[in-house]
Amino acid sequence: MDHITFLVAVVIVTALAFDFTNGFHDTANAMATSIATGALTPRTAVLVSGILNIVGAFLSTEVAKTISGGIVDDTLVTPGMIFAGLVGAILWNLLTWLVGLPSSSSHALFGGLIGAVWVGAGSHGVHFDKVVEKVLIPAVASPLVAGVVALLATYLAYRLTDRARKKSVTKGFRAGQIASASLVSLAHGTNDAQKTMGVITLTLISTGALGHDAGPPLWLIASAGLAIGLGTYLGGWRIIRTMGKGLTEIQSPQGFAAETASTSVILTSAHLGFALSTTQVASGSILGAGLGRRLAEVRWGVAGRMVIAWMVTLPAAALVGGVSASVVTNGGNVGAAVVALVGAALAAGIVLLSRRNPVDAKNVNDTHEVTIRNEPPSTVGTAA
């Protein structure tokens, strides 16, 4: 273990921390609608999703061959830059979780890396055409494609079961939702745990701790799978509330249509070579499902804030990544320690802020809003 320097150890820990935030940020993609319709209890939903994420992590052997899929020049990337990029991605994931908005964890990671490489190696290290191809276009296309598919599916689901007994219909679609949501979770585990494993593996290869073309060692697969699974099990309840209740009130036929649409869009995009973002697919499906049921209310204000969060994700994470990279590049190990401490303090601050108005398994379905302000409960007081 001579090759594991202080910085490499920090990168490994930070990458696992990112994996953890990735898990709880994305629970909503698979499980929000099942939780909202009562197909699964909140606790069961996150448990199923967490286990499937771990299973997915172990199943996928296709190691990520590049850190960023060509968005940055991998030959210029140092462990310090990876660390700085991860810090940017983690902080952005936590901030969007605090305000309860789904945003793409991969875009946050790309953003952090872009900022770090830009500052650390210069703008020639960033391939802007790849940024357009892998981030911008998917960000626009994902919600549109998924939205159209889910809209058609929802309309059809209601149309076909129009005259049947309401009770049987609700029950049937609830059961179906569980299957489609589980598929999304499994696909998520095989994809997203893989990203972190790729980042750590490539860092270890770059420092000589692993040979060229080496796969991730077992301890790495296990810890990455566990990190994302635990994050998923913890549940990003604030985002789950927004996706299950905030965008629109989901009924079980809509939930089934949305999940089926998400599953087929994610799987076809992965196998036909047009990468789409899971988070944006899931959000688009839910919006489409809201529009597909006549008279269903879609809260465009929430949708608008979500879109703004998507647009800001990459630059915001890039900004934090860039600032961190300049500290690490100039300050060496001390700089890295400072960034780690400041990052941890900011993360703790965000978690404390969330405590003022916590959202958890018990109250996730109570309301559709995620607030940070410390509002007194409406039941307190004499005016009953």
Binding site: S60, V148, L152, R165, F173, L186, F256, S269
Partner: protein, 77 residues
């Protein structure tokens, strides 16, 4: 800027096709189930036709799910 319209179009078309097929078959299964439950409530007897319809549709959906797992797990390919 290069946008692969063909791939995007394929993804959209295949997703729409698969989703609509799956939702239609599942909805028919749900209809069969509803018929069974309605019959049971009305006259205490089941509805063999409804049961067959539900069974057939849900088996078809299970096959789609199995294919989904096949696509997700690299070891199967």
């Amino acid at each position: 800027m290069h946008l692969d319209w063909t791939a995007l179009g394929q993804v959209t078309a295949v997703s729409i096709g698969v989703t609509i097929a799956a939702v239609t078959v599942f909805a028919l299964g749900v209809l069969g189930l509803a018929r069974v439950e309605a019959a049971r409530e009305e006259n205490g007897a089941g509805s063999p036709l409804g049961l067959a319809q539900a069974g057939l549709c849900f088996v078809a959906c299970a096959a789609v799910v199995a294919y989904g797992i096949y696509l997700i797990v690299p070891q199967f390919r």
